[in-house]
């Protein structure tokens, strides 16, 4: 029998360990991102009881169910309006929407842009794995041009969203992009987002070997992460318009960074009448 070196990990205190094992495939990037979020919750100094974690539907949307927090696994695309309501009814709470690219930007795209516009007091963490993973690898709103999917067997011909550019344009006060490999930078970005009042957005490029890596000849999760590592550069002041991801153009890097960090009055439905009263 091998000797057990450690029986628990500090981060166990923010997870529902009785729900393990999780549903994520070997090589999936959701795990490292979940870990970064868990560390950020621990290090935020905000009591666990004041955190809420909300999602829509999809692989990433299973994340709240593993967190030992107030957690809400809602309907497809509707995590953001659901969370917006919690944030206004309980303004003392730290509300995080942790969901996937298809959920947040396909079926839920309208809610995203409006929550960013009104600057709802939410942190949105988006696992972008370039496909609809839960249903088996269909093309989505972030699938790169030319990439194959089960519903794009000849290659995707639709231009994908550039998520940081979209978030910044629609009003987010903090915008970052990291990969599932950048767990420390990701944790730091989540902690920064938790300090901000208003709508923050963090994109996490994540391997999905089953839904995306295999059909696009990238290989397993490790190979997909290796691809990010080889091609990624960090540029906090990058031109957001140039952050599109195109796998075919080997000469263009994947740009990471904390791109936007501004102040803007957060959403407060009672602001007008409050100001009137003064």
């Amino acid at each position: 029998m091998p000797e057990v070196a450690v029986r628990s990990h500090p981060i166990d205190t923010v997870f529902r360990t009785d729900r393990l094992p999780h549903i994520f495939c070997p090589g999936c990037g959701i795990g490292p991102a979940l870990h970064a979020y868990g560390l950020a919750v621990l290090e935020s100094g905000i009591p666990k009881d004041q955190h809420a974690c909300v999602s829509g539907i999809g692989c990433t949307a299973r994340v709240p169910g593993y967190m030992d927090l107030d957690s809400y696994h809602t309907t497809h695309g509707r995590g953001i309006p659901f969370a917006t309501a919690i944030a206004v009814v309980k303004p003392e709470m730290m509300v995080t929407v942790f969901s996937g690219d298809g959920d947040l930007f396909g079926i839920g795209g309208n809610h995203f842009i409006h929550a960013a516009r009104r600057n709802a007091n939410l942190n949105v963490i988006c696992i972008n794995n370039f496909n609809y993973g839960m249903t088996g690898g269909q093309v989505g709103p972030t699938t790169p041009l030319g990439a194959r999917a089960t519903t794009a067997p000849y290659g995707n011909t639709e231009r994908p969203f550039n998520l940081p550019y979209l978030a910044a344009a629609t009003g987010a006060v903090f915008v970052a992009r990291w990969t599932a490999l950048h767990v420390r930078q990701l944790k730091a970005a989540i902690l920064r987002a938790m300090q901000k009042k208003g709508f923050t957005f963090i994109e996490v490029l994540s391997p999905c070997p089953v839904g995306f890596g295999h059909p696009n000849d990238i290989g397993e999760g490790l190979e997909e992460v290796w691809l990010y590592r080889e091609r990624c550069i960090v540029d906090h002041s990058a031109n957001l318009a140039e952050l599109e991801i195109d796998l075919r153009r080997k000469d263009t890097p994947f740009v990471m960074g904390n791109f936007v960090d501004i102040e803007r009055a957060p959403f407060d439905p009672l602001a007008a009448i409050r100001n009137k009263g003064e």
Binding site: R78, I80, P81, H111, L270, R274
Partner: protein, 385 residues
Amino acid sequence: MTTEERVLTGAHFIVGDHAFAEGALAAGCDFFAGYPITPSTEIAERLSRRLPAVGAIFIQMEDELGSMAALVGASLAGARAMTATSGPGFSLMQENIGLAVMMEAPCVVVNIQRGGPSTGLPTLVGQADMMQAKWGSHGDYEIVAYCPSSPQEAFDYVIKAFNTADRWRIPVFVMGDELIGHMTERLVIPPAEQIPRVERKRPRHKPGDDSFLPFLAEDEDLVPPIVHAGEGYRVNYDSLTHDEKGYPATLAEPHDRLVRRLVNKIRLHADQIMEYEEVLLDDAQVVVIAYGSTARSARRAVLTAREEGIRAGLLRLITVWPFPEDKVRKLSEQAVAFIVPEVNLGQMSRETERFTSLPVIGVNHAGGVMMAPDPILDAIREVVR
């Protein structure tokens, strides 16, 4: 920050949509999320002024999908939450009405019905969403739907809807129609302390008690106690089939257990929820079943028939769901026929047919004008001829 009274005690001459809004205020509504849609928009407009003035939240959402999702979130954060809409918006809300059912999030949806399908008759009356109210979202479930026949009832039944929603942890519908929403009548608002309020059942376990199973219904009513965001219970609320702990349990056995409870908490207690008004039914041979604005015309038709010596009576549905099936069965023993006038091409008439072997005569038109008393009276005369 409160700058206005929540409960405007006294007599008012008020349009129906505003009566729905005042009912919400009197009921203690803390949160409204909605999207403009004719003929319900006056509810949102009134609440956009009145709710902030009493320190409560009004949000105009980006669509009805988001409105209904926000309602469920607000409800589980502890708010008394309401929205108001009409047919096209009601269709979009069905998705998260199912979520409210599954998460057992109490909330109130007012539907000021217009003519459909699709965009249909935006400014004109319809009563064609009655079956959608019952069956609109996918899966098996039970809800409660009230059907007010006046601005006074609009006010009264929004209050009752909040109490029923909190009592049974379900979404509750108030199925108005364009005529009720846009008619102006007398409304008497009682003193605030006379507004009935039913509180949500809360857990006897303290936060951190590992033996607490948030979705275990220990009481006869099959309703588990509710916990709200930020209270320290750290419960998982899931749209997936879940076990008593709230964890996903996507298998046949826990699914049957959960869905059976969600359905039975209403079916087995329908008698406590059901409401109807009986008009001259004691000796009635011809029974008219009507609801909403049409019930007003039905009452006139029944009274006129009585003047002509016809033993007619009215069963006015206040809850269309649950439907008073036992009452229909009992009336079948004394009557010769049922007449069901409605501004649709036959919805509650079909429900009536399920519980009687007597003829059920529909008096129908597809929408756009009020149901007049005359065609109902003609149908009554035809039965006894």
